[in-house]
C-alpha cells in the first residue's frame, strides 16, 4: 500500500495539529523511540509494506535518510504520529508548533526543488541514453522506471531482456563503454554475465534478464507503483518468432 501521504503544511491553524496526529495514529502502526543527538529531533518511519507487519520500527541516528515521499510540490517533511504517544511528547509537539509553525523538522541538507529536478533530469537523460544503447543491441522490452519515491537508494531502474548470454555480455559492455566515455561513470556490478546481470551506476540501476528470469523475479510487479518513463524510440517486443 502506498505510503505517499503528503502534507502541504502551510497556514493551518494550531488547533488542527492534534487532528493530524489522530489521523496519523490510525494510518501507521509505528512505534518509535528517540535516540537522538542533542541537536536534532528525529522521527522514524516504518514503511507499511507487504510483509512488514510483524516488525517494530528501526531506530537510527539519521545521516542520509530520505524522508521525502513525493516531494515534487513541497519540501516540508511530514511528521508521522506514534502509537503510544505520551502526554509529554504531545505537549512538546504543541510547543514546537506554536513556536515554529507547522514545520517540526526540516532537513538541512535538502536541496531546493529546482535543484532536485535538475539532478533528476541529469539522471533521466543518462537513463534514457543507456536505454537507447540497449535498444541498439536489440534488447527486448526495455522499461525505465522512476523509483525515487519508493526507494531511497537509487533514482531510476532500467529493465531489459536479452535473449542469449552473449547478448547480455554485449549490452553490458556497450553500456559500460558509453557510460565511461560520455559520463565518466563506472558501474559496480557483476563482471561475469549471469542470467540476471546488474549494473549499478549510483542513481541508475540497470537490470538485464533472460526471458525466464524476468518472469521469475517479476520486478515490474514489485515496483508496480513506480511511474514508467516514456522512451522516445520503439521497443522491441519481448517475444519474437
Amino acid at each position: 500500500m502506498a505510503v505517499g501521504t503528503m502534507l502541504s503544511i502551510a497556514g493551518t491553524g494550531a488547533g488542527s495539529a492534534t487532528e493530524f496526529f489522530g489521523e496519523f495514529r490510525n494510518l501507521c502502526r509505528v512505534e518509535s523511540k528517540f535516540r537522538q543527538r542533542p541537536k536534532r529531533i528525529s522521527v522514524c518511519t516504518c514503511m507499511d509494506g507487504n510483509n512488514f507487519s510483524h516488525h517494530n520500527c528501526i531506530w537510527r541516528v539519521p545521516s542520509t535518510r530520505n524522508f521525502n515521499f513525493k516531494t515534487r510540490d513541497s519540501y516540508l517533511v511530514m511528521a508521522i504520529g506514534k502509537e503510544n504517544v505520551s502526554e509529554d511528547t504531545d505537549d512538546t509537539y504543541d510547543d514546537l508548533f506554536n513556536k515554529f509553525g507547522k514545520v517540526v523538522f526540516r532537513r538541512k541538507d535538502q536541496k531546493p526543488h529546482s535543484e532536485e529536478v535538475d539532478d533528476d533530469a541529469e539522471s533521466l537523460s543518462f537513463a534514457v541514453a543507456m536505454a537507447k544503447v540497449a535498444s541498439e543491441v536489440k534488447a527486448g522490452d526495455i522499461k525505465v522506471l522512476f523509483v525515487k519515491p519508493l526507494v531511497y537508494w537509487t533514482r531510476f531502474f532500467i529493465i531489459a531482456t536479452a535473449f542469449s548470454r552473449p547478448q547480455i555480455d554485449a549490452i553490458g559492455s556497450k553500456i559500460r563503454d558509453l557510460a565511461e566515455k560520455k559520463y565518466g561513470k563506472v558501474p559496480t556490478g557483476d563482471s561475469k554475465p549471469n542470467s540476471w546481470t546488474l549494473l549499478d551506476f549510483g542513481d541508475v540501476v540497470i537490470h538485464i534478464f533472460l526471458p525466464q528470469q524476468r518472469a521469475f523475479y517479476n520486478l515490474e510487479e514489485f515496483y508496480g507503483n513506480a511511474t514508467s518513463i516514456e522512451l522516445p524510440f520503439e521497443n522491441q517486443p519481448p517475444f519474437h518468432s
Binding site: F52, V61, T188, D190, F222
Partner: protein, 173 residues
C-alpha cells in the same frame, strides 16, 4: 518482536575490555559502590549487555526469502578467519524447510547474511545491529534463489555488490 538498534560507539566500550554478562554480574554491585553512581550505572549497563559475536560454524540462521528454507546452519564463513559478519557470504546446510519449496532439507547452499546480531560499524561512525541473524539464499554465482526478501536489510549490501538482494527487499534499513 524484532527491532534494530543503532548506537554510537561508546568511548567507554572501546577503552575498557568487554566482559561476558554472567561472569561479572556479581561484581557490578561492588563496582557501583566503589565508583560514583553514574559511572557505576554505565559499568552495570556494559556488564549486563550480551556480547555478540561473529557468525561461525554451527550458527543457526533464519532464512528471510521465499526460497523454501526456514532455518539453515552455517558450515563455513567464506571470508574472515573469525567468522562472517553482516553482508558476508556463508556456506550453510538447510535444517528446516517448507514442504514444497525450491530447496530441501539437507541441501548445502550459499547465503548472504542480511541481519546480524553483532554490530557493524558504518562509515559515519554509527553502528547497526539487529535482533536476529538472518540470511538470504543465493547460488554460487550470487543470484538469489528466492524472489522476494522479507524484513529490513541494511545498506551494507550495496557496498558488497549484493544490489540484487536490495532490489528484492521491501524495506531497507
Amino acid at each position: 518482536m524484532l527491532a534494530a538498534e543503532f548506537s554510537m560507539a561508546a568511548g567507554f566500550a572501546s577503552t575498557s575490555s568487554r566482559v561476558g554478562r554472567s561472569l561479572l554480574g556479581c561484581l557490578s554491585n561492588n563496582l557501583s559502590s566503589v565508583l560514583g553512581t553514574s559511572q557505576g550505572i554505565a559499568c552495570c549497563n556494559l556488564l549486563l549487555q550480551q556480547q555478540r559475536t561473529f557468525i561461525q560454524m554451527r550458527t543457526v540462521l533464519k532464512v528471510v526469502d521465499n526460497s523454501g528454507a526456514k532455518k539453515v546452519m552455517c558450515i563455513q564463513a567464506l571470508k574472515g578467519k573469525k567468522g562472517a559478519r553482516l553482508g558476508d557470504t556463508i556456506v550453510a546446510s538447510v535444517k528446516e524447510a517448507h514442504p514444497n519449496g525450491k530447496v530441501k532439507k539437507g541441501k548445502v547452499v550459499y547465503g548472504v547474511v542480511v541481519r546480524a546480531a553483532m554490530q557493524r560499524g558504518r562509515c559515519d561512525g554509527s553502528e547497526v545491529k539487529f535482533d536476529d541473524n538472518a540470511v538470504v539464499l543465493v547460488d554460487k554465482q550470487g543470484q538469489p534463489i528466492g524472489t522476494r526478501v522479507f524484513g529490513p536489510v541494511p545498506h551494507e549490501l550495496r557496498k558488497k555488490k549484493h544490489v540484487k538482494i536490495l532490489t528484492l527487499a521491501g524495506h531497507i534499513a
